[in-house]
Symmetry: D2
Subunit: 326 residues, 4 copies
């Protein structure tokens, strides 16, 4: 298994992950979860659509909730450096034979939509409406005090293929697991913005969205959220944690929104900005890669995820062995 070069020039310049639209089946129930419990700020609200940002973000939205009949995830959104990067992106995806189209998206300038080779819907833009800073309006902080969207994590039917593709558009590998016998990627964490990841992939029936993660100031904010959720009717929405991941070294908590979309609350990973930053390989037999402190994840965490709108997941190429079950 060859690791990606991690240093070469990319065909276009992706700055960071940006946002995702989630269809939810009860908009007011979701509003209560994302706004009153998590503490995201409403930037626009209609009867069928709510746009949200975290405390430190100046872009118009990082999560958009849309009322619908079934809970699905839509395009994973990324910000590129300039308008010309969009043109270079289109040329690149066209050349790879991937579908492209220009979309009109509220509060975003020209937006390019495509799909990755496994079918994950992606969108890219250079400019989104900017809002005044609120990070020092401390009276607005609530819930877990979310500061910014941190990353996406997806089930992938072929992680090796995902690593190849995202490397080709400039993502850098920071940590990974690989099968010992066949030396193939089992899971991979890849970044653009200088942390452990903007997007990660784990072997599983996919493509599906495993979770969207938000960065918070300290582990105590995560403890505050647990106390709040467990005494306001959300104890069943707590899925896993708190704990520290071996991979990424992050302090984490996984929760489920009213439709089951999974949100990770996350802090304390590390800086990976050096172009010669060496990826860390973890042994699939090492349980500490998942939880440094040893506690196992529940089955749901391994099996459940949000389907992307119109994308049928397929079984993964690699099968789980008892050691790495499920």
């Amino acid at each position: 298994m060859a690791l990606p070069a991690n240093i070469g020039p990319a065909p276009f310049n992706i700055v960071r992950l940006s946002h995702v639209v989630l269809t939810v089946t009860d908009l007011q129930a979701s509003r209560a979860f994302y706004v009153d419990v998590l503490g995201l700020q409403v930037t626009e609200e209609t009867g069928t659509r709510i746009s949200l940002r975290a405390m430190e973000e100046r872009g118009h939205h990082c999560i958009v909730l849309e009322q619908g009949d079934i809970a699905v995830a839509h395009e994973l959104g990324f910000k590129v450096h300039g308008e010309d990067d969009l043109d270079r992106a289109k040329a690149y995806f066209d050349q790879r034979g991937l579908p492209t189209e220009w979309a009109e998206v509220p509060h975003q300038a020209r937006t390019l939509r495509t799909r990755d080779p496994q079918g994950i819907p992606l969108e890219f833009y250079a400019r989104m409406d900017r809002l005044p800073p609120i990070h020092q309006k401390y009276a607005l902080y609530r819930g877990v005090k979310p500061l910014r969207i941190d990353h996406f994590n997806c089930f992938s039917p072929d992680v090796g293929e995902a690593v190849e593709f995202y490397s080709s558009i400039g993502f850098r590998l920071t940590e990974y697991t690989a099968t010992e016998d066949t030396d193939e990627f089992w899971a991979a964490w890849m970044h653009r913005k200088g942390g452990v990841h903007d997007i990660a992939f784990t072997n599983g029936a996919g493509p599906r969205l495993h979770h969207v993660a938000f960065w918070v100031p300290t582990p105590l904010n995560i403890i505050d959220l647990l106390d709040l959720m467990s005494t306001t009717g959300y104890v069943a929405n707590i899925e896993r944690g708190p704990g520290r991941h071996g991979i990424s070294n992050a302090f984490f908590l996984y929760i489920r929104d009213p439709d089951g979309h999974r949100i990770e609350i996350y802090c304390s990973d590390y800086q990976t900005i050096d172009p010669d930053h060496e990826p860390i390989r973890w042994d699939l037999k090492d349980p500490q890669r998942q939880t440094l402190w040893g506690a196992p994840a529940p089955r749901s965490w391994f099996e459940e995820g949000s389907v992307f709108a119109g994308v049928t997941p397929r079984l993964p190429r690699l099968k789980a062995t008892p050691i790495i079950a499920p």
Copy 2:
């Protein structure tokens, strides 16, 4: 089921829990655990015995480790107000038909030993050697930064009987669970020093010592301990947590020493000093009584404990039902 009065005069004045002697089978392995990992301070050390105190304590010892062939717990130690309280205590235990004897214990003045009606060995003293304060010697703080011993927790074959006895010597009930059908005590938390407990009892094969708890400054110290243990060969010694108990509202972690003696790291319970402080009753069917955040405890936590030297545990009077298993 009648609750104890909680206010009446006690036959003698117990100030607080104080210390326990634990027999360990590899003194140096235990030293590494209690001193290098937990951060307790050695106050006296010989080839077969190590005395320890926490950072805020001025008494000579809160834990004494003794080399031996089998891992057992010895007398639970309590400090009484004055020497005359020891005489009143002896008179009270004699009148209850419990065995009493005066013991010579290093660094303690006159020490009274007895057993509670279920066989738990107890000792009482009024004066222990006092040491200079070290709570502002910050260069000595290590590990989890333990500030003081907080409480004992025991399996009891008859919690109702334990509540009656400890109430009779002045302990006050703060929280408890009771069976719904027969309205009998299932577990009880009782205090002298103004927190949720100096000692607690849970229905189970006993008497056995379930754990000894130490108070630490904040949940972040517990996270630091988890990180330290999980990267220095102690990951298997992490048994349960971190989490927040419903009962006591404490943020907790349970770990096992090299012999399996269980230590709880604990912070953030509440003040219970009012004589009219009302006990809180929890429903045995409410899983949040154990972990507010919903995560279950492992089987070992319900089943395993330290035997007291020379005391044969017996089966509990109340049997667990599936709801409250085990």
Copy 3:
């Protein structure tokens, strides 16, 4: 200078400090400060009077705000163990030649009022209306998340005399400063409930109330309060801190309410419950007694305090020297 015995029997049994009534000149402005900023909970409210409790308290009030023309403090309230302690207290104060009277106080049973020898108005009660616990209603936590009232601090014109009096009614000395030349008390911290203090006295024009303190979970809550106050129009109400006191080892912040009544936010002192707990003497020339980290307090902190209703302060017996100015 003789230290008080700290162990003898008291004429009556004081459990802890309990509450104080403050007259404020703009009740709604004070409500915003104590409720919206600090996070105390309203337990009763009329057009002229607001009763407050902290998150962990079950008694009806720890602070009562009363509308009035000038900002003053009223009786310092203490809870005693039982009704008979009130009778013993009356007998004791009568015998000392101090004024006593029974007062009707809303939500309190029989209440005894008196004055200490320097004129501080005091009140004692055994029973106050009890309210349901809210310490696990995490949705109610706001502001600094105040858990409980912790202590009073007063300017005293004669600290030695104050120590003698409060020792005589059972308060125990934990830390103090004394003049080096004449070996007289300069400041003293005294407790009933097992922390560093329920009440403290500092040499100065008095008697006046220097501050009322509230206990909070961790230093991070104090940082949260600073962020909140400094971005909601209360930056001028921040007087001193954050810092750590040498004396008491507490992490502290001093703020002023809209009338200038001083509130301390406080965490992390230590347990002092042992009857043989040794007081710590600090050198008046040691600036770390005030701030362990070295930063000086502002002049206002040394000079300003709340007058007790109807009590004219007098100059202190001991004059400040340049070393311990002001």
Copy 4:
């Protein structure tokens, strides 16, 4: 006053600030400060030179201490993306008429040295020796648990000129102050790596190094450092803080090493990676720009700094007015 474009292409690609060499007059005293107190890790040590890294860094050094007769600072080190960036950098500086030379620096590949227009010595490299990760070796964490070098801050005799120069090599402005009457830069924060700054400039006699900053996990680590320093003989080395800056929103502490070199301990600024990230302008009359909570900085903080070896500071072009003194 025109703000820099912040988006245009740079002549070469700087990744981040990297390191600095400090001459110290007592190497063992400095070792005690940086290693035992701060908690930096020694990566190489001789009788006259000690190399240090922080816990999350894989490059060989972020601070190098060199024994010498007078305490001075040397080149501010920056990492560039690739070897060809060094050639482009040389061409750029040559064209600007700035001195350039290739230097041999231990553990660094080809290193380019130059000076900025005001005389600050700079060095650039693409490759430094890489060391194995230690961020999960929790037994090594000590002191303030420094994670990584965060930024340099310099006194500048002409901040407007500094902004022009660093903008021209790709630094982006995040926050700044400007004079109201003449609308000229007074202070500026500029970044490459996506936080508030890699380097900042404040109007003052210069060029001099005001401080080097390290990133730590949470404010509690800064409190731990304060407790440690104030009880191990370093209380006089605490200069300012803890507090929160208005500018950058960071929680900060400023300390002085045994020679007076200033170190900032820093956490919780925000992500600035968007190319259209809008700089924040602060009013020079607003004291909250310096300390959000209102406490003023001591005079030493405004006046003292480390001289760069061989560089004579000159008076600043703009004079302080009483409002912004000193």
